[in-house]
């Protein structure tokens, strides 16, 4: 172990059934540094962190910690805590039914009993020091997600730790809260704590970090000093290729030329759902590809969910092909020719244990009705057709969909909705967590479908994907539509400017 390191991970391997999540990964953290751990979804960041914190057991490799002569043995989060590793996870890992103070102290106090007075006083002091507007004695679930996340951070910071891991802690925080967090991080750094920082926001990396380690496909790409790695190169390293690889897939021949090209397929006025978005207006023309842009949590998904009737619609008028219609549940939308690929593939899309075949026919089967099931041979024929069409890699149509890779799962879900032959297709983050090749395939498919007259709404966290596919973008901020950009104004900086809400440059 080197003199200044607080943590060294050597030759870490970890695999799950069917997936090699980590292969021979090394990681070194020195004291008093803020170290960014970067990589795309599925690159292995979270797995590496969970190995370090004892949530997963590593298959091979060794972990060394400062002050320990032999490799550290970490079998549980408790072991990690005792060794001075504290963690804030992306999802809030606190207990909503306990009080704020308890959440800050549980699992790390000595002795047999619980001293409420001391605990509440201690918690109140930390909350005050960190300027968190929460009452220590209240039930945690009575506070917003952002405050809960701050409480989680407060807990981690208060622990006498050598290594602090922050796994995407900022996704639910606003700018001033992020600033507070950065101040905390700098204070801890001055005290010699090593901090591992995982985030998707590049600005934040360059604002606080000293070093960057990049992972890709479960393997180590390299470790870099921040000043030696400009943004553009960082992105290239994360993606594993030069940026302009997938640049020009937009092709003018792929534009719908029909006579009804300027007719609205779908229109909404003052649409509002119970998911907390402000009423919004929206329309899409035949053969058009448009999208919702905005940060995570800005209300993009909630808008399309409202269109599809996935959340409870509480206000607004909707027209389909010029006719007034009512959409109160998904089946209404499906009958009108709307299809919706949901944001979370695992939670809202897949029916994991069912076969590829059943997953593909599901939506169309529901439309056909209860008493008209597809026969086995019909179902096989359809499934095989779409497996071929979308080049889905699966052993057979009978394979359970959960054993396919993310990209192929996503293709099955797309096949499911294409089978319903919709007039209006909504794709909410279709490219999340899948390999780059499939991403390009999906984008090409979207443009092809649009050229054949289908209207598509395409949402992605990666702005350049939307720039490449959409001809018009609706921009969201704080659960409100704040602008619309189309034509020649569609540039990265324009979108960023509108999202941020500052003056356009």
């Amino acid at each position: 172990m080197k003199e200044k390191s607080v943590l060294e991970m050597r030759g870490i391997y970890k695999s799950f059934p069917g997936v090699r999540a980590l292969q021979n990964v090394d990681f070194t953290l020195e004291e008093g540094e803020i170290h960014a751990l970067m990589g795309e979804n599925g690159a292995g960041k979270s797995t590496l962190i969970k190995v370090l914190t004892g949530v997963y057991e590593k298959d091979e490799g060794q972990i060394f910690l400062k002050g320990l002569n032999k490799p550290a043995v970490i079998h549980s989060p408790q072991d990690a805590q005792n060794l001075g590793i504290s963690t804030v996870y992306q999802e809030i890992t606190l207990c909503p039914n306990l009080t704020v103070a308890e959440n800050m102290y549980i699992g790390r106090t000595k002795g047999f009993g619980t001293n409420w007075r001391k605990m509440n006083a201690g918690a109140a002091k930390i909350l005050k020091d960190l300027d968190i507007p929460a009452d220590a004695t209240q039930q945690l679930s009575s506070y917003s997600i952002a405050i809960q996340q701050m409480v989680a951070i407060a807990r981690a910071v208060d622990m006498d730790c050598k290594v602090l891991i922050l796994d995407e802690p900022t996704s639910s925080l606003d700018d001033s809260e992020v600033e507070k967090l950065f101040k905390m991080m700098r204070d801890l750094k001055a005290k010699g704590v090593g901090i591992i920082f995982v985030t998707h926001f590049l600005e934040q990396v360059y604002a606080v970090c000293d070093k960057i380690t990049v992972l890709r496909d479960g393997q180590l790409v390299g470790q870099y000093e921040i000043e030696n790695l400009p943004r553009i190169q960082l992105v290239a390293k994360m993606l594993g290729k030069e940026l302009n690889d997938e640049e020009e897939i937009k092709d003018d021949s792929l534009v719908y030329q029909g006579a009804d090209a300027d007719k609205n397929v779908f229109e909404a006025e003052g649409l509002q759902s119970n998911a907390g978005i402000k009423p919004f207006n929206f329309h899409i023309k035949k053969g058009e590809v448009n999208g919702f842009a905005g940060l995570l949590g800005s209300g993009r998904s909630e808008c399309v969910r409202a269109i599809f009737g996935a959340d409870k619609v509480i206000a607004g008028k909707v027209k389909m092909k010029g006719k007034d219609v009512k959409i109160s549940k998904p089946i209404d939308a499906m009958k009108l020719g709307i299809a919706y690929l949901s944001e979370s593939r695992k939670d809202d899309g897949l029916v994991g244990d069912l076969s590829v075949r059943d997953n593909i026919i599901l939506a169309q089967q529901v439309l056909r009705g209860f008493f008209r099931p597809y026969s086995k041979s019909e179902a096989y024929k359809i499934a095989d057709e779409y497996i071929k069409l979308l080049e889905i890699k699966t052993a057979s149509a009978d394979t359970p969909i959960k054993s396919l890779s993310g990209g192929n799962q996503q293709k099955c879900i797309i096949a499911r909705w294409l089978l319903t032959h919709p007039d209006y297709l909504i794709l909410d983050e279709p490219t999340r967590g899948i390999d780059i090749g499939t991403k390009v395939e999906i984008q090409k498919l979207v443009l092809k479908l649009a050229s054949e007259g289908m209207s598509v709404t395409f949402i992605s966290s990666e702005t350049d994907e939307m720039l490449r596919t959409c001809s018009r973008l609706v921009v969201m901020r704080d659960r409100k539509v704040v602008g619309e950009i189309s034509g020649s104004e569609l540039t990265q900086s324009n979108i960023m400017g509108t999202i941020a809400g500052g003056d356009k440059k």
Partner: protein, 348 residues
């Protein structure tokens, strides 16, 4: 001055009301319903309800149920369930009865038998649930059937215990000073309780303290609230679940002895349906089925509510046996729906 302090108090109260946690809200609902019920019974039915002895009779009758319900609450707080407790109570009664009358055992030995059965149940069920991650309902369902079957294998016919030392213990009355009343002849009759009540009250107090002021108790709540988070917060989730099931079964053993002390006999049909009464009491007492929320005092009040409503049903002339079962089920249904509404309210 007086008014200002009054408004201040009122303001404080409203503030508290706004921030009432699920835990307290459910507890308050339970206690209010119980008080309304009991006061209503005193006012409209009078008679026996006016005497403190009536309450003590309920306690004596239900001491075993109080203990099993407390154990059930522990398991439910961690997000589990244990429906083997009624079977364990019957098995304990029969085993102790056989131990005393046929095997020449004495009272301390019979107590050891009771605790041993509870412990063995706890270890096996706890291990299967916590470490092999099998659904607690299935395991304890099998446990219940095993206990019922074993009871008849131990001894197939019901019989009364004739051991003298035991009879003395069974008939021990503890006078509660100052709570007695005058009977029709004008003589003062002392109010009394038995040993089972003392055990039950001790269990209630001990568990209340444990849940509130020990790390283990708080770990129960954390595991029930979100076991994944609890793991991340550094709690040994498996061990916590194991201990909860262990304690529940051990308490079922204790309850078995309390029941044995009350009835003084062994029978395969003893305590039939007690597991359901225990679950119902816990739910009525504000323990959430989904785990993480619950209170031993609530459970205690839950048992009292359940018995009171049975008392009321029979004293207003609905003597037919089926009314008791139907009212209990209706009450359970009501509380389940209240819980469902309270928990979904939070999500909106």
């Amino acid at each position: 001055m007086a008014t200002s302090s009054k408004t201040a108090a009122a303001a404080k109260q409203t503030k508290k009301k706004v921030s009432l946690s699920d835990q307290n809200l459910l507890l308050v609902i339970t206690i209010v319903i119980f008080l309304v019920m009991y006061l209503g019974a005193i006012i409209f039915l009078g008679g026996g309800f006016r005497n403190a002895q009536n309450l003590f009779n309920i306690l004596m009758q239900q001491s075993a149920l109080i203990i099993t319900a407390c154990g059930m609450s522990l398991v439910m707080i961690t997000g589990g369930i244990d429906i083997s407790v009624g079977g364990v109570v019957a098995l304990v009664c029969m085993s102790c009865a056989v131990c005393l009358d046929y095997m020449g055992g004495n009272v301390p030995l019979s107590i050891l038998v009771a605790l041993g059965i509870g412990l063995a149940y706890g270890v096996v069920q706890g291990f299967l649930v916590a470490y092999l991650e099998i659904q607690p309902f299935i395991i304890s369902l099998a446990g219940m059937f095993f206990a019922r079957g074993m009871t008849t294998i131990v001894h197939s016919q019901p019989f009364n215990v004739e051991n003298e030392a035991f009879a003395a213990l069974k008939n021990t009355r503890i006078i509660v000073p100052g709570m007695g009343n005058t009977n029709r002849l004008g003589n003062y009759v002392d109010a009394y309780i038995n040993i089972g009540v003392i055990i039950a009250l001790l269990v209630v107090i001990l568990l209340f303290v444990m849940l509130r002021w020990t790390k283990l108790g708080r770990a129960f709540y954390a595991v029930g609230g979100n076991s994944q988070s609890a793991l991340m917060l550094g709690i040994n989730v498996k061990r916590t679940k194991f201990i909860a099931h262990l304690m529940c079964s051990l308490l079922a053993g204790v309850a078995g002895y309390a029941f044995f002390l009350y009835v003084g006999s062994g029978s395969p049909s003893h305590a039939s349906g007690m597991e359901m009464d225990a679950i119902a009491s816990s739910i009525i007492g504000g323990t959430l089925l989904t785990g993480g929320v619950g209170n031993i005092i609530g459970t205690f009040v839950g048992v009292l509510s359940l018995s009171t409503i049975q008392n009321i049903v029979s004293s207003i002339g609905l003597d037919d046996a089926w009314w008791t079962g139907i009212t209990v089920a209706a009450m359970l249904c009501l509380f389940l729906i209240i819980q469902s509404v309270v928990t979904s309210r939070k999500k909106d």
